[in-house]
Amino acid sequence: MNFLIKKNIFIRALSYIEGITSRNTNLPILASVHMRAKGKNIIISATNLELGVIVSLPAQVVTEGDGVVAPRILSSFLGQPSDTIIEVIKKDSSLFLKEQKRSATIQLEGEEDFPIIPSISPKEEAVIPSLRFIPALERVVGSVSVSEAKPELTGVFLSLQPREWVVAATDGFRLSEVRVGQASGVVSPLQCIIPLRCAQAIIKVFRGKELEEDVFIGYEDNQFIVRNEDRSVYIVSKVIEGEYPGYTSIIPTQFITICTIPKGEFLQNVKSAGLFASRANTVRIEIEGDKAHITSGEGDVGSFIASMDIEKSGENCSLVFNHHYLIDGLQNIQGEKFSFKVSKKDGPALLSGVDEKHYLYLIMPIRET
């Protein structure tokens, strides 16, 4: 195997592929990536046996061939991105890398042991522009549960219908949902739960590409497949077994308090309040008249109060929240102002944009003793 490749392209691909590798004591080769020089491309694959990612990079191939190498050392040698050309030559069982005045030799591992990533072409695929799909995933992925107590919540819920698609995630305390009404070439509806790591890989890989492109989404045999049009990006993952809870019923439709609040200022205040929060991460939001008061300070650090002008209709209220959850939600809302609605005491609050209607964030308060 012998090829030449632009350092930029090589480094970028390695950065998102590296995250897929895993330390598996039974199969150590999973910590490495597989490279294949073929035609006009270098095809790099990585897998942890639940998720597999294959990317194709343009390169000048002198001799075709395969090699399996630990990506960490490779990317460390490559260092900072630049336009220089790297030459890669396989010699026996090592990889020789040359960049202008620097070179290195890295031990290769046996290719025969590297797992085969299933190449699936689903009969039906939905098509969504990455410009829409990737930001949607990014907005919900932070709400995925990290606790294994309920496995169905450890992934992103995806629902594709002919006229609408939805991604959502919740950990039981807060919920994020992006709902887009748009024909997506879906013939038969698809619903599945995408494992967190797969969602993160999809975001990383598509964000790494400069151009926007269409994302092709398919499902077959319990495997979830995402690719771009020319298959230079291909991701396959198992789905999470089980049914996602029907969460739409918990989204309140009646509210006792409805406010419109300047987002930037509020977010800043919550962050500051968070510095003074006790170990329980509590921050109090008090809505009184046309003002909002953000306070914290049950801990030993000190205390904090901020007041701001808001628009409000309905009753006054006072709620305590985990400030991390509040910040997570606020950071995903677009626009200068956001809408803050309270449904009932000890019930969820609904945060959403004022002009943009796709995203909603539901957050449960902390009970006051």
Partner: protein, 450 residues
């Protein structure tokens, strides 16, 4: 040789040929899914395993299989994951990051695929004479579904625990079987939309493939011909395969109008049990259990007062208890006294039950049996008159709590022993004869409805 033994032989062969690491990685969670006509289907957990076994181990697997079973011609690999058991009923809804009082979305606790609420279990069901038969039957069914009582039909008035029992059975069985719990209204709606969308096949598959089908409030399919027809077929399909069916209703099958005969006879062909109104001891036990659940400490006299005065259904009991607990916390410093409790509940208990007098009873009963009021008071001893007269006596005792002598007096100067005899006779009839109980309930309904 069973499929398990067959695969065990293969695994033993392969294990010596490959490194331990590889063996564990690729062969864990594999098993033989089926064996038919010389084709063995091996179940694998994911696409990666399938690819690997197909390209690297296929020859070895085929060879090993042929060693024990020469007629094996072909080996296929299918991706099958054992359905994870529905999240084991957790004691705490979700894991809060710290013990901070962070609340969780309440409704997410309902197990969506089975529709069951984890709070309804046999442990939380208080047993008393009014429901012990239903409870025993439910427990039996949960231990041996499909074999002892099929179908199980539980009926009784509002708020007495039918749903609790049904869901208890569901929650117990959901850990190992495919359970569906739904109201007959949902079944009907599902059926209608399937017809409209043309997805009848998937509707049939959905319900006829369950191991346990639990339908609450089945009386609501009365009058809906097509739904009843579909339910009839679903019932048969499940029953034939000894899949457990459990139904609940507010009245026995015989008393559901416009229920098709063939459905009625099928319901009656199973085990029919009723849940009656709880007696005082049971009510008190329920209050004590729920009080503990809410972590409220209440004086015994307060609980006894509630148990004495709220007699009709458990929901009302719980409502009264909630009210007391809330007032106790907010207004009485967590130690509400009997007097204060009486005051709090005054509007609940003193709810104007339409005051009925004995004349009203006589009027209603005589109308019901289509005889004249004079007959009731008179001396006629014909059976058509005697029975209604005895019913009047019973109702005056039961509803108005009049003494035997005063009843005798009001009904034409009769002796108190006559009244005693009438009351005990009616009580015996009530126990022996279900149809009669329904009759009496209907009369009571009319008593209170004008």
């Amino acid at each position: 040789m069973t499929e398990q033994e067959l695969w065990q032989a293969v695994l033993t062969d392969i294990e010596v040929q490959t490194s331990r690491a590889n063996f564990i990685t690729w062969f864990r969670n594999t098993y033989v899914a089926s064996r038919k006509n010389g084709v063995v289907s091996v179940a694998v957990p994911n696409g990666f395993t399938r690819e690997w076994l197909q390209s690297k181990y296929h020859k070895a697997i085929l060879k090993s299989l042929r060693n024990t079973t020469p007629e094996v011609k072909e080996v296929r690999y299918v991706i099958e994951t054992k359905k994870a058991p529905p999240s084991a009923v957790p004691t705490r809804p979700a894991i809060a990051p710290t013990d901070s009082g962070q609340l969780a979305f309440e409704e997410l606790n309902v197990n969506q695929s089975t529709n069951l609420n984890p709070k309804y279990t046999f442990d939380s069901f208080i047993v008393g004479p009014s429901n012990e038969l239903a409870h025993a039957a439910a427990l039996s069914v949960s231990k041996k579904p499909g074999t002892v009582y099929n179908p199980l039909f539980i009926y009784g008035g509002v708020g007495l625990g039918k749903t609790h029992l049904l869901q208890s059975i569901g929650n117990t069985l959901a850990q190992t079987k495919n359970v569906a719990y739904l109201s007959s209204e949902r079944f009907t709606n599902d059926f209608i939309s399937s017809v409209q969308e043309g997805s009848m096949e998937s509707f049939k598959n959905k319900y006829r493939k369950k191991d346990v089908l639990i339908i609450d409030d089945i009386q609501f399919i009365a009058g809906k011909e097509q739904t009843q027809e579909e339910f009839f077929h679903t019932f048969n399909a499940l029953h034939e395969q000894n899949k457990q069916i459990i139904l609940s209703s507010d009245r026995p099958p015989r008393a559901i109008p416009t229920l098709e005969d063939r459905l009625r006879s099928r319901f009656e062909g199973g085990m029919l049990v009723d849940i009656g109104y709880p007696d005082y001891e049971t009510r008190l036990a329920i209050l004590q259990a729920k009080g503990k659940e809410k972590e409220a400490v209440l004086r015994a006299e307060v609980l006894e007062y509630i148990a004495h005065n709220i007699q009709k259904n458990v929901r009302e009991l719980e409502g009264a208890l909630n009210l007391i607990v809330a007032s106790s916390k907010q207004l009485y410093d967590n130690d509400i006294s009997l007097e204060q409790a009486k005051k709090t509940l005054s509007h609940l208990i003193g709810r104007p039950q339409k005051p009925i007098g004995f004349q009203h009873i006589i009027k209603t009963v005589s109308q019901f049996y289509e005889i004249s009021e004079a007959d009731i008071l008179g001396k006629n001893r014909k059976q058509e008159v005697v029975l209604p007269r005895q019913v009047v006596m019973f109702l005056m005792r039961d509803e108005l709590r009049n003494s035997y002598p005063s009843i005798g007096e009001k009904l034409g100067g009769r002796d108190h022993t006559t009244v005693m005899h009438a009351c005990s006779k009616i009580e015996k009839s009530l126990q022996k004869n279900e149809g009669f109980e329904d009759e009496l309930n209907l009369i009571k309904q009319q008593l209170y409805s004008d």
